[in-house]
Amino acid sequence: MFRPLLALLRRDLTLALRRPQDALTVVGFFVVVVALFPLGIGPDPEFLRSLAPGVLWVAALLAVMLSLERLFSDDYRDGTLEQLLLVPEPMGLLVLTKIFAHWLITGLPLVLISPLLAIQLNLRPDEIAILMLALLIGTPILSLIGAIGAALTLGLRGGGVLIALLILPLYAPPLILGAGAVDAVMHGSSAQAHLSLLGAMMVFALFATPWATAAAVRIMLD
């Protein structure tokens, strides 16, 4: 039963490798947005440090959102999404596989590059570790929730803006918890509560959103 899912995962990763610019633009966007903040608000290290968790998280979720439009739209345009509906596997699992591939291509690079940007914003090593952990748990949530918006806007003109309006409000909880985790460490308390809640949210999103996304895909292709 996992063979078809592996085939889909390999297909999406191969396609991403053949068009690396798609993944690179997302990382580039993340880096540039974070780099612009010190230019805008001045170089005071302590001030930058206090802003860092929020800046990094907002930049990360904007970067993920930027990449969402392409999650299903390429498959939709060339007709492969239609064929996926005929694959003898539950559509929810196929969607989950696509989201996983999407996270590997966009979310994971953000996690990996975040320490560099955190140093730029004067975060300390223990805070950077928590930031990476929070992003590692949080970016899959962003991909999972975002997939619903990507599916609901399939084939609509100006879909990208619509995704932002639909999805950004739903990104508030992971943003609060993720940035809060780093803030907590910064102020000398434990990040455990934030991270636990973030983890719970990821588990919930993992089980609930693929089915909602699959239903949305079916409706949009009807």
């Binding site: 063979r3 592996l6 390999r10 053949r18 060339d78 007709g79 239609e82 509906l85 005929l86 003898p88």
Partner: protein, 207 residues
């Protein structure tokens, strides 16, 4: 190959506010071909999408044996293959990769030699290793046909398969269709061209 009938019962469909067809019924038995004809815009593609379980009809139901097509055990894709207007090919991948991946997704896992032989028989020998975006419209259509013909499904639903194909390939496709019917498969096809096929052919005229 197929051991069940394929039935449409009291189907109706509308697009926008306009009724395309209603009270449409037919039964297709193993070894039969159904050619759907009608002028542009009469709902041929809508009908085929409903039959493939991709769209919901306004009324009525499509049955595979006794099961509604959208809730067939194991998924709709286990009993039918569908080729729509779009070729469903990944432009950045080669013809061979496209077919192997589609086979992997469908759980068929065709052999590489079989794929190459099929591509060869459709006149694509020498083009297997080229990304699909470098192929012409007709060649892309042939790759999509090769993919469909390599899926061992009882029912094949083909929407305008002859579009953009040249005469030789139409002959090859005709042979493949006749072979599929001889194996007790079923075929539903829309086309504007008259292609005479040996076998048990029915006609359904819309509009």
């Amino acid at each position: 190959m197929a051991d069940r009938d394929f039935r449409a019962v009291d189907l109706a469909a509308e697009r926008g506010e306009r009724l395309l067809f209603e009270k449409l019924e037919f039964r297709l038995s193993p070894g039969q071909l159904l050619q759907v004809s009608g002028r542009n815009g009469c709902g041929k593609t809508s009908l085929l999408r409903i039959l493939a379980g991709l769209s919901r009809p306004t009324a009525g139901e499509v049955y595979w044996g006794d099961e509604p097509i959208r809730s067939v055990d194991g998924g709709t894709g286990t009993c039918l293959g569908y080729l729509g207007h779009q070729n469903a090919l990944k432009e950045d991948m080669t013809a061979e990769e496209n077919i192997l991946i589609a086979g992997g997704l469908g759980g068929d896992r065709p052999e590489r030699e079989t794929v190459l032989a099929m591509l060869g028989s459709l006149g694509l020998a020498g083009y297997e290793d080229l990304p699909v975006r470098f192929l012409s419209q007709g060649q892309k259509r042939r790759v999509a046909l090769a993919r469909l013909l390599l899926q061992p499904r009882a029912l094949l639903i083909l929407d305008e398969p002859y579009a953009a194909l040249d005469v030789q390939v139409i002959e090859v496709l005709r042979g493949a269709i006749e072979a599929h019917l001889a194996r007790k498969g079923m075929i539903i096809i829309t086309t504007h061209q008259a292609v005479d096929i040996d076998g048990d052919c029915r006609n359904l005229h819309l509009g």
